[in-house]
């Protein structure tokens, strides 16, 4: 399906990542945002609140992040594509409803413009320290989809991807930005609406009475309905059967939660996205994501000038993690170097998949600014031996 031209600001713009994310949401068809503004994500909702009256839709400035994160679930069940936007402290408050979104299989998008933490930390400065929180922050077993853009252009493109994936898999999707990407301004090209692919909601084709809200299709994703369309349905955070009614049994838990996890795992090949460069024959492979991938590229070029064979694997989709690919590469390369704006998160995934077959080096950074490329360069040289 093509994008609705009403929400598409076709043309070349000079925008920061936050504004570009807002335009991506509008282009994807998002017509409901509930948010509690927080630096460095405020510009997303600020722009949305100014643009949405003319496009046709709703923005609500809520009383807090708890209400924001659940209002978008209600809107989604009413048939409207919805999103909330926050940063670390707000993301922490949203965790309960992220679990609910997973359990209700509600298509929606959570944007986290990461800043330095813990707690209120560094409101105006970047980090990448919420990556594991996105994966594991809510209780219980589940799988998520998280995307990490590295430029304002990608903030636009990948917000659309986030909405499309959320519709395809009936699941919350995280856009894991950071303050640097959110506040940097670059050229952003917005294509014409008929060049933007938008995934429509997977409404059931069955009539009321025949429809079961949690009976999956072959790809493990159940079709959905819209409140008010005449279907009888029930949504609950309790473990539920295909009708949506609570059933407190190990059998029902196994059927439901196993499917929720498998829905992402089985389809992971279609969801996972990474970019490789000069991987063949590389002695060292730098695994990075988000803004750090750009900074790392500078370090990689320095090392190449010194004759080191360095490859780059940039995670575009961070969750689900490309386990298989890292395992394959671990048998071929000497070492992985993982720079990230935290004291070690994604590096543990790399290490787990490398399973001792390649050395793994972290280049940590507490946040507040990006890495100095020199620090990544030094680690590449150390890893190359």
């Amino acid at each position: 399906m093509k994008a609705d031209p009403k929400g598409v600001l076709t043309g070349s713009h000079y925008l920061d990542g936050d504004h570009a994310c807002c335009e991506g949401a509008l282009a994807a068809g998002c017509r409901f945002v509930a948010g509690y503004p927080i630096t460095p994500s405020t510009e997303v909702v600020e722009r949305f609140s100014a643009r949405i009256p003319r496009v046709g839709g709703i923005f609500i400035q809520m009383e807090d992040e708890l209400s924001s994160s659940i209002a978008i679930l209600g809107a989604s069940w009413a048939g409207v594509k919805s999103m909330t936007v926050t940063s670390g402290p707000g993301f922490s408050l949203m965790m309960e409803h992220i679990g609910l979104a997973v359990m209700l299989e509600t298509p929606c998008v959570y944007v986290d413009v990461q800043r330095g933490g813990p707690s209120t930390g560094l409101p105006t400065l970047p980090s990448q320290a919420d990556m594991m929180q996105a994966r594991w922050g809510s209780h219980g077993d589940y799988e998520v989809i998280a995307i990490s853009p590295s430029s304002p252009q990608e903030c636009f493109d990948m917000t659309i991807d986030a909405f499309n994936l959320s519709e395809q898999y009936r699941t919350p999707v995280f856009l894991m930005m950071d303050e640097c990407v959110g506040h940097m301004t670059e050229k952003v090209v917005i294509p014409p609406a008929d060049k933007i692919e938008v995934t429509p909601r997977r409404y059931t084709k069955l009539p009321p009475g025949k429809y079961l809200p949690y009976k999956p299709d072959r790809d493990l994703v159940p079709p959905i309905v819209k409140a008010g369309d005449g279907y009888r349905f029930h949504v609950t955070g309790l473990t539920h059967n295909e009708k949506g009614y609570p059933v407190m049994s190990a059998d029902c838990q196994e059927t439901l939660v196993h499917r929720l996890v498998d829905k992402i795992r089985v389809n992971a090949k279609k969801i996972i996205r990474y970019e490789e460069e000069k991987i063949n024959g590389a002695d060292v492979i730098v695994v990075s994501y988000g803004i750090t991938a750009r900074v790392a590229q500078q370090a990689i070029e320095l090392a190449r000038k010194d004759g080191v064979k360095v490859g780059s694997l940039r995670l575009v989709v961070v969750w689900p993690f490309p386990e298989k690919r890292i395992r394959e590469l671990a048998g071929k390369t000497k070492a992985f170097v993982v720079p990230e704006m935290n004291y070690g998160q994604i590096v543990f995934e790399v290490e787990r998949c490398a399973a001792g077959r390649a050395a793994t080096f972290l280049v940590p950074h507490g946040g507040g600014t990006t890495h100095n490329p020199e620090d990544i360069y030094k680690k590449i040289m150390e890893a190359a031996g």
Binding site: S12, L125, C180, H183
Partner: protein
């Protein structure tokens, strides 16, 4: 020219960020080059310290921040004191001369001064001082094509203020050309 780093500093309210935005936009949208603008975020209400940075390049900009600016524009004493030591020793320093008392220059730094605020007042609106400065920047540094900057001004400033802003730009631009002539004579 592979990568040029520009830093602009002043008070909140002087239009520091807008100036940087116009330079970046001129390079990215109207010259077909690459540029990345970043800004310092802090308690930058009117009167507080404020700075913006732009990287202009013929290739993709990877590292987004300015570390050693090749051009420094200062519109407040504090910005001069804080940022002058960072300026590349072959760089260009542009000064709002009524607001900044500058010391001797280091290395091969070329320094140029302009009473931008006074010129803006003469044009009728003090608020366009940043655009006077932008004109000055454009002619002195020749980093970005003047027509691209003019287009970026039209594209950015509020409707109805285009003519005033373009006048402010030309004022600074002409003053910069004259300053370059003076420099040539002196060296010549």
């Amino acid at each position: 020219m592979s990568r040029t780093e520009i830093k602009i500093g002043g008070f909140g309210g002087q239009g520091v960020i807008l100036t940087a935005l116009i330079i970046g936009k001129a390079a990215s949208l109207f010259e077909g080059r690459e540029s990345t603008m970043t800004q310092s975020f802090g308690p930058e209400a009117r009167g507080g310290a404020c700075s913006a940075q732009i990287v202009v390049s013929d290739m993709k900009v990877r590292y987004p921040y300015v570390t050693v600016p090749n051009v420094l524009v200062v519109m407040s004493q504090e910005a001069y004191t804080r940022f002058e030591p960072q300026l590349d020793e072959n760089g260009i320093l542009l000064i709002e001369e009524d607001l900044v008392k500058s010391g001797p220059t280091r290395g091969k730094i070329r320094a140029f001064s302009i009473p931008a605020t006074r010129f803006a007042e003469e044009l009728g609106r003090k608020i366009v001082l940043n655009i006077v400065m932008l004109g000055f920047f454009t002619s002195v540094t020749k980093l970005v094509d003047a027509d691209a900057v003019r287009k970026a001004i039209r594209d950015t400033v509020p409707k109805g203020t285009e003519e005033l802003n373009l006048k402010a730009f030309e004022k600074g631009y002409e003053y910069g050309l004259n300053k370059l002539k003076e420099e040539k004579k002196k060296l010549g």
